[in-house]
């Protein structure tokens, strides 16, 4: 039996429209403000404990760059190491192929239910919906993913997918919906976080104990040894990774790191950036299969789905360093006000604004709007544990949207046209370039603007209207700077060039 209702990201509006609605939602804003400010302070404390944070960060970025520049080499090593350790490796060029592979693997076991560890890759490809169509029910076991699944909702944060829900909303979802998916919530459930966690423990326990198949992602894959790493807090990951007979891990090809030793960098960077802990409660590592300990069958599905297109862009490539810590979301003033759903993909916040348009391309109105979902304040770059220059990529992607140009689409070189919506912007930029190249034109224009300033409208006409809807137009001064300089200084100080 499949669960009731499945939310999807398909057909979502462009960021400005979505944000226009979400920023007016006072409860959402209060929930997000509380949660992001709590974690922001804690993260700063956890990071300050390590004197060598900057050096760890540089090493993390360098290890990822080494991997990405030689990704073919490391993927081949990983494949042979996993295979040698008893695992089976599958390759998926896109989301549909990954979903097909996983569906067939589950069908081959004869099971109709799977338990899932929280995984961004399976969110990205919409695996739960694909399994539901094949009559397979996927049970999310991470507490926040459970809240999202029970509420027919969408994740809005990388680490805490139900960050947009406060405790009383979660209590209501549990009380109303748990019975439809399995063991009902206890009578008289309160909204104390400890009680809510206990309700989730009881609800999921029977699922873990009976599960035959599990689906996971992975935080890291070690090329030299074939070791996979899952970092978590609750123990639901351990349950899924050790109790079932069959484990299927769907992992993006960029998650590979060269050596086991390289984990010494990421296991310091990730927990402190993510949950602001010295170390997360549980980390599982496994290499293929082991006799009598854990799943007897292990499948690794390596996912492209736009990653090679991202890799082809020498500026945008650094987005593939991301270790999904979500520190950039927690410091972002735009995310804090707009919320995660406005970004229209599994990857919200600053990282989503650079990753989604690269993975999916900038053809849809939503994806073309994402590089603009930022004030370019740079807080995301400051906190990024692998030093992704998010503002640089945002500006780069804005240029691509406005000007078009060469890109890689599903591995093939293509040239995209400039986006239609930006014709006025391009015309304005062309006019500005011409005026700035012709000083006499500029001077005449400025004088004309000063003399007519009492007649200026308070809002722009035509294509500029939307811009001035939410902004005050700057007042034009009575005299331009050049004229003022000419009048007050030019005669006194002729020696200055």
């Amino acid at each position: 039996m499949s669960g009731p209702g499945h939310a999807t990201y398909l057909g979502m509006p462009a960021f400005p429209e979505a944000a226009d609605t979400s920023t007016r939602d006072t409860r959402l804003r209060a929930n997000l403000r509380h949660a992001t400010h709590t974690i922001r302070t804690k993260r700063a404390t956890a990071v300050a404990e390590l004197d060598d944070w900057g050096r760890l960060r540089a090493a993390g970025a360098a290890i990822k760059d080494r991997t990405l520049r030689h990704l073919d080499h490391y993927l081949e090593r990983l494949e042979s190491a996993v295979t040698a350790a008893g695992g089976q490796v599958h390759w998926a060029a896109d989301a549909d192929e990954a979903n097909r592979i996983v569906t067939e693997l589950v069908r081959a076991t004869g099971e109709h239910e799977v338990v899932k560890v929280k995984s961004m890759a399976t969110q990205e490809i919409g695996l739960n919906d694909a399994l539901a169509e094949a009559g397979i029910t996927a049970y999310e076991t991470d507490l926040a993913e459970l809240i999202v699944q029970l509420g027919d909702d969408l994740p809005s944060h990388i680490l805490v997918p139900a960050i947009h829900r406060n405790r009383s909303e979660i209590r209501d979802i549990f009380a109303e919906r748990m019975a439809r998916w399995g063991r009902p919530a206890p009578d008289g459930l309160t909204d104390a976080p400890a009680d809510l966690a206990e309700a989730a423990r009881l609800h999921l326990r029977e699922k873990f104990l009976n599960a035959k198949v599990a689906v996971s992602g992975a935080n890291f894959m070690v090329a030299e040894t074939g070791t996979l790493v899952v970092v978590e807090s609750e123990g639901n990951g351990r349950m899924c990774l050790t109790l079932p007979d069959t484990l299927i891990s769907v992992v993006g090809i960029e998650k590979v790191v060269p050596t086991f030793q390289d984990l010494e960098v990421f296991l310091q960077l990730l927990p402190r950036s993510s949950t602001a802990e010295r170390m997360n409660p549980y980390t599982s590592m496994w290499t293929g299969t082991s006799d009598d300990d854990g799943p007897r069958t292990f499948h690794l599905v390596l996912l492209d789905n736009g990653r090679t297109d991202t890799l082809a862009d020498t500026v945008g490539r650094q987005a593939l360093r991301c270790i999904r810590c979500s520190a950039c979301l927690n410091v972002c003033p735009v995310y804090e006000r707009a919320g995660g759903h406005a970004y229209g993909s599994a990857y919200p916040g600053p990282i989503g604004a650079i990753l989604t348009p690269q993975l999916r391309g900038t053809q849809s109105a939503l994806d073309a709007s994402l590089p603009y979902a930022s004030s370019l304040c740079g807080a995301c770059y400051e906190v990024c544990p692998v030093a992704i220059d998010i503002p640089e990529i945002l500006v780069h992607l804005r240029e691509r949207v406005v000007e078009g140009g060469p890109v890689s689409v599903r591995g093939t070189r293509a040239v995209i046209k400039p986006a239609k919506g930006h014709a006025a912007e391009r015309a304005a930029m062309r006019a500005a370039r011409w005026a700035l190249d012709h000083p006499s034109v500029l001077r005449t224009g400025q004088r004309l603007a000063s003399r007519t300033r009492r007649l200026h409208p308070r809002r722009l006409p035509g294509p500029g209207r939307a811009w001035s809807d939410t902004r005050e137009l700057p007042a034009v001064p009575a005299e331009s700077f050049r004229d003022w300089w000419q009048r007050t200084r030019a005669t006194n100080d002729r020696s200055t060039p």
């Binding site: 076991t141 405790r167 979660i170 990774l241 170390m279 590592m285 009598d292 297109d309």
Partner: protein, 215 residues
């Protein structure tokens, strides 16, 4: 073309800017970060481990080799344990002072069987002071990963100073990647409700860590 070949061809085309003949080691990774944060005596390292474990809500106890069996017996009694799972290579004297019924770990134990067990007692592979972490690697004194997961109470014994290191890099040096590992830093927890940490979700909700001074 197989999907494998397709993806590999895409990767190579995407990396057209990388000079042919560049080897991975030519991409410089400077490991100038610290091997450990601060210089401590072995006793200070053990103190830091205890402090950080306590900070994440593990209950920390200290004893010597002679006192260990009585301490373990007391911890089991305090939880009203009726049964305890025993890894195949657990030193026999560790449980010599308790009457609690022993269930030897074996492949025949189902998850439901384990769910009915009160407690588990294990050793460990290594412990990390700076992060308050204990690593299990499924060696004979620790058993299969599932026995430290399903029962609600875990008594974890660390030999001090031989099994304690300062830092994450020092721990990885000691570990064998071919063995399945579980890194444990305090009992199961979640921050999923308003980013407030709550201890106790799916893993053992009670974690007793015993630091045993050798000698």
């Amino acid at each position: 073309m197989s999907s494998r070949d397709l993806v590999m061809a895409r990767v190579r085309r995407a990396l057209a800017d990388v000079p042919r003949g560049e080897s991975p080691s030519e991409v410089v990774v400077e490991r100038t970060y610290l091997r450990r944060h601060g210089d401590r005596t072995p006793a200070q390292t053990a103190d830091l481990l205890a402090e950080n474990l306590t900070d994440y809500r593990a209950a920390v106890h200290r004893t010597d080799t002679a006192g260990l069996p009585a301490l373990i017996a007391r911890l089991l009694t305090a939880r009203n344990a009726t049964t305890v799972v025993v890894p195949p290579g657990l030193p026999t004297d560790w449980l010599s002072a308790t009457e609690v019924r022993r269930i030897p770990d074996s492949a025949d134990l189902t998850p439901h069987d384990l769910d009915a067990v009160s407690s588990v007692v294990t050793g460990c592979a290594v412990a990390i002071a700076e992060t308050g972490t204990v690593v299990l690697d499924a060696s004979p004194d620790q058993g299969r990963r599932r026995i430290t997961l399903v029962p609600d109470h875990h008594v974890l014994v660390i030999r001090v100073p031989s099994q304690v290191v300062d830092s994450v890099p020092e721990a990885l040096e000691r570990l064998d990647p071919s063995r399945p590992q579980t890194w444990i830093s305090g009992p199961s927890a979640t921050s999923d409700i308003e980013l407030t940490r709550v201890e106790g979700v799916h893993g053992p909700r009670a974690l007793d860590v015993v630091l045993v001074t050798e000698g």
